[in-house]
């Protein structure tokens, strides 16, 4: 069913939808169980990935603006 959370969500990604997505992929591969910490770990990994991209985008955008100024 749908999980409605009113409490603090400690993950970057929304836990309910992420858990459903992970279980769906796992089931597709014939895995019927997912360890509880997997959801938090995938969330952290995704946060790192996006953070890293945003940092690099910032540097690239700055560089582009410098070129315009000159």
């Amino acid at each position: 069913g749908t999980e409605i959370r009113s409490c603090k969500d400690s993950n970057f990604l929304f836990t309910g939808p992420l858990e459903r997505r992970i279980k769906q992929i796992a089931a597709h591969h014939g895995l019927n169980e997912v360890s509880p910490d997997v959801v938090a770990l995938v969330s952290h990994g995704t946060e790192e990935r996006i953070k890293n991209l945003v940092e690099r985008l910032g540097i690239i955008a700055e560089h582009r603006l410098e070129n315009v100024k000159n």
Partner: protein, 97 residues
Amino acid sequence: SVSDRLGPVSGSDVDKVLNKQRLQDLVREVDPNEQLDEDVEELLLQIADDFIENVVTSSCLLAKHRRSSTLDVKDVQLTLEKNWNMWIPGFGVEERP
């Protein structure tokens, strides 16, 4: 921090793992002066989706390889480290693979 935010689960957000609000919170955390164009936001949401799909699928293959029926933290850790050069501490596996 971003991770302390409330999780808005309303209407169209029910099946989304991430929304623009959280993405913007993360961007502010990285650089308070940085702003993303809307199409860049869309792209980052897509990249997040693809990343999850990719990591979870590779992790499932590792779980199957060790003949387990459970997707475990160590499968995801190994995938993040080997495929993405990422080590996220605090998930119970003491020694690095």
